[in-house]
């Protein structure tokens, strides 16, 4: 009898504990953010800065730690995230648009915009068209004139395939109607080296990295809808007469896997923009030359959908 009673009480206690656990104020423990690139890279250190304030009570109320899962241009980490990561809000991930969307179109991946739920966006790094300091080209028109005289001979470097730089190149080649050659380097730094050393005619690279190297480069144009505050004198590609929009801008933000409870998504989505807008975080973004652009979940959903439609079209010609 006594044993039965104890068992009953124990069971009751256990179920109430489990019930409490489900009801317990999320989040009750530190939250992870999976970064699909190695530690020390731009996405990694921006993710660390962007989530600095998460521990504040008014914000998420729990500290955030970073889990790096690099490999295959981000595919290793994002595949893991979409298929194996816990769907209870204990593990978030950083996204890079257009990278992951372009990859989900070209490769057989576990992730795409339907298996992921955005929470908010912290940064936007546009691609810029650059040439070396000693290059004979001073404007986009110079470069295109050279391409007219020498079809195929104009080489443009970028950080590999199906990333923002590659998208910018594809748009640029299409809109200008010229025969250009894309040189996919192993990463952004290597793509920049090819330009600085004069191995390639030009390059698409991150605005942040290019602005820092202004002494070794000439920045011809920004692949965005408006000029950028860091480079007020540099025209957009549209101003330079080539119809290229902001589809190649490298957006960075946070997401959870689809299937995460709606109340968890709503909670995180309501807090992330404020977390990114934290004063210290914004100061740190600025001092590290990381272009910030805070967007809400709804704005990101709209942006993802727009990119998905556009990139499907653009990349269809390549398959």
């Amino acid at each position: 009898m006594k044993l039965m009673k104890i068992t009953k009480i124990a069971l009751l206690a256990l179920t109430s504990l489990m019930f409490m656990h489900a009801q317990a104020d999320y989040p009750d423990k530190p939250i992870g953010v999976m970064v699909a690139y190695g530690p020390g890279g731009a996405t990694d250190f921006q993710a660390r800065i962007a989530t600095l304030a998460s521990g504040k009570e008014a914000l998420i109320g729990q500290p955030i730690y970073i889990l790096n899962k690099p490999g295959a241009g981000g595919r290793t980490g994002w595949n893991w995230f979409a298929s194996e990561a816990p769907k209870d809000g204990s593990m978030l991930a950083a996204y890079n648009v257009p990278h992951f969307i372009a990859q989900s179109i070209v490769f057989d991946t576990a992730y795409n915009i339907n298996t992921l739920e955005p929470l908010g966006n912290w940064g936007a790094d546009p691609a810029v068209l650059i040439v070396g300091k000693d290059s004979p080209f001073n404007t986009v028109a110079d470069l295109l004139a050279h391409a007219d005289a020498n079809p195929g001979a104009v080489t443009i470097s970028g950080a590999g395939k199906f990333v923002g730089h590659h998208i910018a190149f594809l748009q640029f080649a299409k809109a200008s109607g010229r025969d250009l050659t894309y040189i996919p380097a192993k990463g952004g730094v290597d793509a920049l080296r090819l330009v600085k050393a004069g191995e390639v005619s030009a390059g698409f690279n991150n605005l942040s990295d290019s602005a820092r190297s202004a002494a070794d480069l000439k920045i011809l144009a920004v692949a965005d809808l408006t000029r950028h505050a860091y480079l007020p004198d540099v025209p957009t590609l549209m101003e330079s007469g080539v119809d290229v929009d902001d589809s190649s801008v490298n957006f960075r933000g946070l997401m959870v896997p689809a299937g995460t409870p709606q109340d968890v998504i709503d909670f995180l989505a309501s807090k992330t923009p404020d977390m990114f807008n934290d004063k210290k975080t914004q100061g740190k973004m600025k001092s590290t030359n990381s272009p910030a652009r805070v967007m809400t979940r709804d704005e990101v959903i709209a942006m993802w959908n727009e990119r998905q439609a556009y990139l499907t079209d653009l990349l269809a010609g390549l398959q």
Binding site: G38, P39, G40, G41, A42, D44, F45, R48, I49, I66, L67, N68, K69, P70, G71, A72, G73, R75, T76, N79, W80, V106, F107, G152, A153, V154, T155, G160, K161, F162, T181, I183, P184, A185, K186, G187, V189, D190, L192, R193, L194, K196, A197, E199, V200, D209, R212, S213, A215, D216, K284, S287, T288, N289
Partner: protein, 500 residues
């Protein structure tokens, strides 16, 4: 002499504490498989977030310096290089340890690391402007030829049989093709999801060295009664000191090649150590003793990988182009502190104090690395006396832990175990792990730069794209060196066959 002006900044209690702590931790971390210099520096960067820029950089610099040297400890004591840079060290270092000369081997290692390291830092201090220009000359095609030069070494580096060396190298090159190719934008040989990320160099390194060692130790434990290791060497510090500084040739070849490799973007300590080892071997009088515990091998490899540290910062600080994989991670460390590389970094009012303090601290880091390293060497005997069964378990735990920590991925652990098991049986048939790792390291450098060079050459010269690879002073020089290396390899192979 700007570097003298800021020396006093390093001598604060806080900075000295950071240097000592960073160096000590770096040596230990470096000795653990998986926590390579690149990984250690990357993991440390977030911790420097809240430090002042110069303090953060001093800590990162000490870590970079010490991990490169620390990797030699495990290479010598347990034949498991802590990082790719220490592969060449393991070949003779562990043989010395087996003969009971582990303490001497460690003495030689830290002393030659110190000499190379100081040499490299002084190159950084005095020759940055001209060498920054030179580093830009090493482009796509030059890197391709450097990788080919490395491949010419494969056949002879650690095998008695040229055929087995070539086969092992080929196996490594094939492993390197697995996974995503950034230039082609396609996945290759990904038969299971585990292979999606390819074979990471450090995962391969741990698998090919640590796992066979674990299995060897277990086999030894169960088959024979473990032989008690021969007595420890008795050389005093002074004797080691005299010995190392008597090896002027090995030290200068190592330091020179290491510095040169440091300046070249995209090549790092792993190439520095192996090329220096190979070159020193070729001009050595004790050639036949290499691979059997020749101290010169350790001296050349360790002076090379540490002299690479300073010069790898030359293109990093001036051009934002890292001279080694670790320098690439360090770039992130510079950026989060608002230090943006450029030629003006050494003179601008805002950055000059930080940068010069950082460079000065590298000199002190070398000194602390020597002192702490020599202190630890005194106790190397402890590790050599650990019974085989405990040793096997410890290496296994560290190998699994280290592999997992690289990409937080079980797939990597799986790859490590499978490769290690294959290597264990292959080594019984006389195959060596060194050419396999060389293949994994050099394969992507050779292939990707070939593809890029072909694209760029094709855009410039059309069907005559080969011209791009065969013109330019550095390309021609490298081609000549490649031919010489192959010819020499064939010649010495014939000679040794005739003499036996």
């Amino acid at each position: 002499m700007e570097f003298l002006d800021y020396f006093s900044n390093v001598f604060t209690v806080y900075h000295i504490a950071l240097l000592v702590g960073g160096t000590f931790a770096g040596i230990i971390l470096g000795a653990l498989p998986g926590l390579s210099p690149t990984m250690s520096v990357a993991l440390l960067i977030p911790f420097t977030f809240h430090m002042k820029p110069e303090s953060g950089l001093i800590l990162l610099g000490a870590m970079y310096t010490a991990t490169v040297a620390g990797g030699a400890i495990s290479a010598i004591l347990v034949n498991v290089p802590g990082a790719p840079a220490n592969i060449a060290t393991a070949m003779d270092g562990h043989q010395m340890a087996k003969k009971g000369l582990s303490r001497e081997a460690l003495h030689y290692c830290f002393m030659s690391s110190f000499v190379g390291g100081i040499f490299g830092v002084f190159i950084l201090i005095f020759f940055t402007p001209p060498l920054a220009r030179l580093s830009l000359e090493f482009g796509t095609t030059e890197l391709f030829w450097i990788a080919i030069l490395g491949i010419t070494i494969i056949a002879t580096i650690d095998s008695k049989s040229v055929v087995k060396g070539l086969l092992s190298g080929l196996f490594g090159l094939m492993l390197a093709t697995i996974g995503d190719n950034p230039v082609l934008g396609v996945e290759r040989f990904v038969f299971t999801d585990h292979l999606e990320g390819g074979v990471n160099i450090v995962v391969g390194l741990i698998g090919l060295f640590a796992m066979p060692q674990v299995l060897n130790l277990m086999e030894k434990y169960y088959s024979e009664k473990h032989p008690v290791l021969s007595t420890e060497g008795h050389s005093s510090l002074m004797q080691s000191f005299r010995f190392v500084f008597g090896k002027v040739k090995a030290l200068s070849i190592g330091s020179f090649i290491g510095s040169l490799v440091g300046i070249i973007p995209g090549a790092g300590g792993q190439i520095a150590g192996l090329v220096a080892y190979d070159q020193t071997k070729k001009v050595s009088k004790n050639q036949s003793n290499y691979g059997k515990g020749e101290p010169e091998g350790i001296i050349a490899a360790e002076s090379a990988n540490n002299s690479m540290v300073g010069p790898s910062l030359i293109p990093l600080l001036t051009l934002s182009i890292p001279g080694s994989p670790t320098a690439a991670v360090l770039l992130g460390g510079l950026l989060i502190h608002g230090i943006f590389p450029g030629h003006e970094i050494f003179v601008s009012e805002n950055t000059a104090p930080v940068v010069w303090t950082f460079i000065d601290s590298l000199i002190l880091a070398q000194i602390f690395m020597l002192i702490i390293g020599l202190f630890l060497s005194r106790h190397s005997g402890w590790i050599m006396k650990v019974p085989d069964n405990y040793m096997a378990v410890s290496i296994l735990v560290l190998a699994v832990f280290g592999t997992y920590s690289i990409g937080n991925s079980y797939s990597d652990v799986l790859i490590m175990v499978v490769l290690g098991t294959i290597m264990f049986f292959a080594s019984k048939a006389g195959f060596s792990a060194v050419p396999v790792v060389l293949g994994i390291i050099l394969g992507p450098i050779a292939e990707n730069n070939f593809l890029l060079g072909k694209l760029i050459g094709g855009a410039r010269y059309g069907d005559d794209w080969m011209i791009y690879f065969t013109t330019g002073t550095i390309n021609v020089t490298l081609i000549v060196i490649c031919i010489a290396s192959i010819t020499y390899g064939l010649y010495s192979n014939r000679k040794s066959k005739r003499s036996t």
